[in-house]
Amino acid sequence: MKHTLNLAGRNLFDLDVYTVEEIETIFETAKVMKEINSRDYKKIPTLRGKTVATLFFEDSTRTRISFELAAKRLSADVVSFTTAGSAMKKGESIQDTVYTLNAMGMDLYVVRHSCPGVPQLVHKYSQKPVLNAGDGRHAHPTQALLDMFSIWEKRGSLKGLRIAIIGDILHSRVVRSNLIGMKKMGANVVVCGPRTLMPPKIEEVYGVQCEYDLKTAIKDADVVMGLRMQLERQTEGLFPSLGEYTSRYGLSNKMLEYAKDDVLVMHPGPMNRGVEILPEVADSEHSIIIEQVANGVAVRMALLFLILGGKPGREVA
């Protein structure tokens, strides 16, 4: 282990308050967790007796399962909360929901909500560490960490890499966290999409380059990340048709020729094949999309382990 930083008791609302060294500590720990995930017996007793509550006020498949699997592989008990079938349907507030769960002895909360800022609200009422599993358009820091870990594994570092992120930047929480993290780790990031799907002052907020032409954006890129085009946005008059969108911003083999030869293709999922990314690219040798999913479990194991009091190093294995 290179780093021995103690992350015990920390929140993860977003990556802004995490240092480079802390992020690298998470990566180093995730590497060990990944090895555990490759064993026949994928479980270690480290978090035995701890209880992790996953509060998913918004639908999710991969993130929720990934977190729950991560907690279980570390032997934590998992309480899974979804809005459907809960007292929230009867009008209970987040405040009362958290008070109720807290009374039952939760040690950590994983929170997904459609409204930005709810993880902070959960922490305010619980006083327990909170991991943000996606809050509205605001942040999705564990997704960003697994994205960055996937690049870090392949390239050893993010420093100096040109990373192009393409698509609906406006509505993406994944982008916001990735921009903070990738810039922090020394990457040069360019975002690209239609102007109606670009948030204001993005260059100023994140110190990134903003392009509206796909070729310019992915020229000489080391990494190209496509984002899910949220089909429901079509009704908002933000772009005229999926066909026009794909013709201008869809990732095809032809487009990838502008990137570096060994470019990594990524996507946080779920994908709209044939819209933002063509199957020929999603399934190509450049694609590490499936590895991203696998790395998600390892990164979340690392976070739960570090935040619930584990120390990087010999105690892991």
């Binding site: 409204c115 930005p116 709810v118 902070q120 605001h138 204001p200």
Partner: protein, 423 residues
């Protein structure tokens, strides 16, 4: 009789502050002079204190009838008195809306019974503030409203707004416009710009305000009615008003303490007490508002006191209602931020919180002079305090200034010769 001795007194006629005594007999200021001796008077030593005319707030929400869990006329008046206000104007977005005589009479009667502050009423522009049909404006004016507004329910259809202004133009009352094009503001929560991008919250563009300000200025020009732009928040709004004034259009404007003091960065951290309409804007906008106030483009400071209960505000940011309270922090916040730092002269600040709003609503209030109603307040400007939630008299505590250290502690407020607040 009450004799306030040795205070630093703001004289409304001269707009200057002198050391003087103030004698009050019954409801009226009988005499202001360097030294008054009156054996029969109750003497209050105001040495080291400032005596100002009672503040006039032309934009607040008292929530009665309909939403008395947030505020009612009595609690709102008490809060206003503690802030040094002796005249306030309540907006018509109550339930039922103030679009009829019985609601208007109810509020005016209740206000008289409470008696802590003079309460003037703003009537609705459209029936039910629904923006569909013109309200019974002549009846409301006859009943005593001092202005017309649909406030947060800003009339979207230009033709209706035109008719309201044209119909009301024969009465010398202001059309108070909350300027917001809903098709542009949509489900916006904070300023469209740096913070909306950083926080991932939908943004309210400045254009949503400016396009409506443009429309209403043009309608005022065409109809000859008086338009008053409520809570201006953007640089271009200030420019539009400045130009309109140059063009001779009858336009006035107000700005709130929170828009003058805070910018959008206050929203970082998702504190719902920073959620308001219009939203806190960029630093450039904030500076323009201050410039506009200083050069007279913006006429008055109004609180837009908008109480909401804690269980409404302590929700997800997107679910919490817009608005913050303002009576009790208004003067100390402005004094601390602008007068103590020499950005605004004390006399100028008092003028913008007294005579100027009184002129717009055509009421002879907010004046400290012989013969005027004894509406005044007494502040110790050399005393600081922390704005503490537990000391707020409003039923609601939704203020972005809680915890702020402020200068200017209020000792007394008097309305019509009676003390309405004492430390």
């Amino acid at each position: 009789m009450i004799l306030l001795k040795n205070g630093m007194v703001y004289l409304s006629n001269d707009k200057k502050i002198i050391k003087a005594d103030v004698l009050i007999e019954k409801k009226v200021i009988k005499k202001i002079a360097p030294s008054i001796d009156e054996k029969n008077a109750e003497v209050i030593d105001c040495a080291g204190m400032h005596i100002f005319p009672g503040f006039v707030d032309m934009h607040c929400h008292l929530r009665e009838p309909g939403y008395t869990y947030k505020e009612d006329i009595a609690s709102g008046a008490a809060s206003a008195a503690k802030g040094g206000f002796t005249s306030i104007c309540c907006m018509p977005n109550t339930k039922p809306a103030i679009d009829n005589l019985s609601t208007l009479d109810y509020i005016m009667r209740k206000a008289r019974d409470v008696g802590k502050t003079k309460i003037f009423v703003i009537g609705a522009m459209s029936k039910g503030i629904e923006g569909k049909e013109i309200a019974n404006i002549a009846t409301l004016v006859k009943g005593g409203v001092v202005g017309l507004s649909d406030d947060g329910n800003c009339i979207q259809v230009a033709k209706l707004q035109l008719n309201v202004m044209r119909y009301a133009s024969i009465y010398d009352i202001p059309m108070i416009c909350h300027s917001e094009d809903y098709s542009l503001s949509g489900d916006g929560q904070v300023n469209y710009g740096y913070m909306s991008t950083k926080l991932g919250l939908p943004g309210i563009p400045t254009l949503a305000e400016e396009s409506m300000v443009s429309r209403d200025i043009m309608l005022a020009d065409v109809t000859g009615s008086r338009v008053h732009i409520a809570h201006a928040s953007t640089k271009r709004t200030v420019e539009l008003i400045r130009q309109a004034k140059k063009d001779g259009i009858k336009v006035t404007a107000e700005v709130t303490p929170h828009h003058l003091v805070l910018n959008e960065n206050a929203c970082d951290g998702f504190d719902t007490n920073t959620k308001m309409k219009p939203p806190l804007r960029s630093e450039e906008d904030r500076k323009s508002l201050l410039e506009g106030l200083l050069d007279g483009t913006i006429d008055v400071i109004a609180t837009d006191h908008a109480p909401h209960s804690d269980y409404e505000k302590e929700l997800e940011f997107m679910k919490a209602p817009f608005g913050v309270i303002g009576f009790e922090s208004a003067f100390p916040v402005l004094y601390t931020t602008f007068v103590k730092t020499d950005l605004i002269k004390l006399e100028e600040l008092i003028d913008r919180m007294t005579s100027k709003p009184a002129n717009i609503i055509n009421k002879e209030v907010g004046e400290l002079k012989e013969g005027a109603a004894a509406d005044l307040n007494v502040f110790n400007l050399d005393e600081s305090f922390t704005f503490d939630e537990s000391e707020i008299l409003s039923k609601s505590k939704n203020s972005p200034f809680i915890g702020m250290n402020m200068w200017g502690k209020i000792y007394y407020t008097m309305c019509d010769g009676k003390f309405t607040w004492k430390v």
